[in-house]
Symmetry: C2
Subunit: 364 residues, 2 copies
């Protein structure tokens, strides 16, 4: 299963693997895919710098990428303290009452609450780009909106490829007009921020829109080799995966999250604004359900919503209760039924894709 993408990226398999975990990223890149580190969680650029130095060593010369989030429109920008002022007290009350009702205890002494994710602010995302440009990164991806022109230019100066995610064909066209080298067509099935058009429809639509200019990767609903072969049938040059790596040993889930992921079926996710303020697919559970009740407030815009729920996220994770973990994940969560090493998952994806291509050969 080699495509042109393999030569472009210098990898054995046309499989990109997004993960917030550097352990997953390193393992994927060593096994012949391209690991892509999600940077949005790094509020401190120095911490990202240290993590990329670790990756430089652990990937041992295999290429890897980074994923930053520079949304086209963030309604509020500013210092965290100023932004906190914009959160209505009624929203804070709702969060507090909901945690109480769900039986989620406060953090114990010594447990540290997360700050809100600030990586969705342009200023912070740009600090991620600055750090990435000082490391031997092969690919820089923007997960929301078109990458700014100067970022594209500076990445290209250093020989990096620039990718951007698109949930609609017009977004893909504007990415390519802005100099992007790869488009990730991300369908409705995907975990995290995602649009409303299913992969089966979106991928060929984006291939028809920009496929003659740049390679298109299929994302959303890709967790098996048959799904990779289907993506190639739709005209993609490779796949962008994410959720499938949450079920690996290297991801190092806390037990409650692991149990929730293994237990969930494909119908147990929901597309909601409660995580970040923009629509993102999450595990559906008692926490997300609470936000659909009549007395629940509307989620706030990005980045305020995540600042609002950041403390709650820490408590929900620390509670050790699988029915409340706050977690972005795609519909392929239904396929996750045991925890395996990254290399084994990747080898299975490739083997099943090859088997599928062989099976299709006989239908001609």
């Amino acid at each position: 299963m080699r495509t042109d993408l393999c030569d472009l990226l210098g990898v054995a398999y046309p499989v990109l693997a997004f993960s917030p975990s550097e352990h997953v990223v390193a393992a994927v890149s060593r096994a012949g895919g391209l690991g892509v580190l999600g940077c949005v969680r790094f509020n401190d650029p120095a911490e990202l710098d240290a993590t990329l130095s670790w990756l430089d060593a652990e990937t041992a010369g295999h290429p890897y990428g980074v994923d930053v989030v520079m949304p086209g429109h963030v309604p509020a920008e500013g210092a965290p303290a100023d932004l906190e002022q914009l959160i209505p007290p009624g929203h804070r009350d709702f969060v507090e009452r909901t945690l109480l009702r769900l039986g989620v205890p406060p953090l114990s002494v010594g447990e540290q609450s997360r700050s809100g994710v600030l990586g969705w602010l342009h200023s912070v995302a740009r600090s991620h780009v600055e750090v990435a440009l000082t490391h031997p990164v092969r690919l820089i991806a923007n997960a929301l909106g078109p990458p700014p022109a100067d970022v594209v230019a500076r990445a290209h100066e250093r020989g990096l490829l620039v990718a951007a995610l698109a949930g609609r064909a017009d977004h893909a066209r504007s990415h390519v007009a802005g100099g992007v080298d790869l488009v990730v067509a991300q369908g409705y099935e995907a975990g995290g921020h995602t649009g409303e058009i299913g992969s089966m429809v979106l991928v060929p639509e984006i291939v028809d829109a920009v496929g003659e200019q740049v390679p298109v990767l299929a994302a959303g609903g890709i967790g098996s080799g048959r799904q990779i072969a289907a993506a190639l049938a739709l005209g993609a040059s490779g796949v962008w995966t994410g959720s499938v790596w949450l079920g690996t040993e290297e991801y190092r889930s806390p037990p409650a999250l692991r149990e929730a992921l293994l237990r969930a079926g494909s119908g147990d996710t929901v597309r909601s604004r409660v995580y970040s303020g923009k629509p993102a697919r999450l595990l559906r559970n008692r926490w997300t359900d609470a936000w659909t009740e009549p007395q629940a407030p509307e989620p706030l815009p990005m980045p305020l919503q995540n600042m609002l729920v950041a403390g709650a996220h820490s408590r929900l994770m620390a509670a050790g209760d699988p029915s409340v973990v706050p977690m972005p994940v795609g519909q392929i969560v239904g396929r996750m039924n045991r925890v395996r090493p990254v290399a084994e998952v990747l080898a299975d994806l490739v083997a099943e894709a090859d088997e599928t291509l062989n099976r299709l050969r006989k239908l001609g």
Copy 2:
């Protein structure tokens, strides 16, 4: 592109085509697919009988099927006059006010208003089955819920195959346990009644659940040969198509509907309960938007919602305004950009699927 399904159904191509139009059904069956007539619109069994007699002649010995709707749960059953009593006056007022606001005139003298669709009542659906069993029908499909045991038994006695649509793997398992011969895995992208799991995820999940016992057809998002090849990669034995036939000459759309279909992009649909009371994907327009406004009432359960809006549907269609046509359609509506004959559409689907299989051969 022959699969086992071709022998089972006695067709040249593993392409099933659902349509409420007997003209489309006949043309598909004559061209080597399997046309499947949607029966839900026939409130009068005698009219269905006459239509099937026409089809018997027009298909000239090529097999065809029928699609009936026997939902697992219909909250209200009864004579139309009694059911009308269950519709709250506030809902009727909302519909009337909305039509006024949208500039939709009353029907002119001589134009006839549709009755509500009663085919969603078990009693009416069973009359469809009775009629179908007196014709040389090859396949009877149930579009919502498991077909009743006696219907399966009587169909099998007469040598008919029974199919059922499923939007979740557990539904597929219960269909097969009930004796169904074919399962249609219908993803979120589909037009009409549809679930929340995208085809990319749903199809392999249902193949894994029941594929060793019965053939699985992929539905939802199938409007090109690449999408057919992708469905085969996911493990389907063929495809169930619907929306793609709305763009054909034989469908005989009124001009406003035709314009709306040709103009719509893949993002211009919405999954909503306003058409029938159960979630169905429709063209998104000023009519569906009106039901999302804060003052709009919740749609009624099936079959009351369709009875509520039946008169409005007649007026919305007669208005000749593309921005208000009430129409179930899938996300592949974005691919519809000119009106063509059925035979040409089917030939293109098959040719592109074959080309795609050839392209994949070179990746091995």
